[in-house]
């Protein structure tokens, strides 16, 4: 029984680690929103 519990715990750790490895690298970039895109108005002016 103990072996089964230890095995299950090890598997859970492994799965958690694996999931962490697949986290989006985009998490380090600022979030973007639909409003930003929809209302984006860029104008240029002479410096």
């Amino acid at each position: 029984m103990n072996k089964i519990l230890i095995g299950a715990a090890a598997l859970a750790v492994l799965l958690a680690y694996s999931k962490k490895g697949k986290q989006d690298m985009d998490d380090t970039n600022p979030a973007i929103t639909p409003v930003q895109k929809r209302e984006r108005t860029i104008t240029f002016y002479k410096a």
Partner: protein, 224 residues
Amino acid sequence: MAALSVPIPMTPRVFYSNIALPQNKVKLAQIAKKYYKEIKQAETLTNVPGALILSIIFTESAGNPSVVSYVGAAGLMQLKPQTANDVIYLEKKAGRLTPGEIAVIRKYLGNRINGPLNQSFLTHKIKENNYTGNSVTQADMLNAEFNILMGAMYLGILIDQHHEVGGLRLDKALLRYARGYFFKPAAGNVEQVLDQVKGKSTEAYSYVIKILGKNGLLETQALV
């Protein structure tokens, strides 16, 4: 949301001499004429200025839709298939994909659009040689309409990530377009950012000045 105003030139640094200006103006006009429909459509769908899209096309491919770089960046706006794939994924993830964009993407990808739509993380997270190309391919990137829309959507993401307290930092957005999505520009004003990148990549440094600098492509388009 208030309009984002960008000063042109954004930096007094110069890439193109006065002698190059008439030639650049002619070339810009030729590209604008040839791809007017595709650029206008991308501008309408993404709200990224056509003048900026045109400047990128000029700089990246000189208007050649078939050019492929040694790293696999392809077409007018020189995007890798992986990047286009991730642009679709990022826009979907942020709830920003519009029906108009989906229609254009589906026109070229067909059911392969489901690849990036069903992704759960960026393909760039996977080593690039593991990318199987079963969603967006290099051949897709050689279609002008698809390429320009993907490039504009990518620029839009970068632009939206660089609204800063002092205004829109187009210099940083362009640096990341040139050096890759995960490139981190230095903190500081435009000149400090350019000084920092100058020591790391002459190509990226020149890229920004070609577009935003004095005699740059935006200034040449007489939009200011």
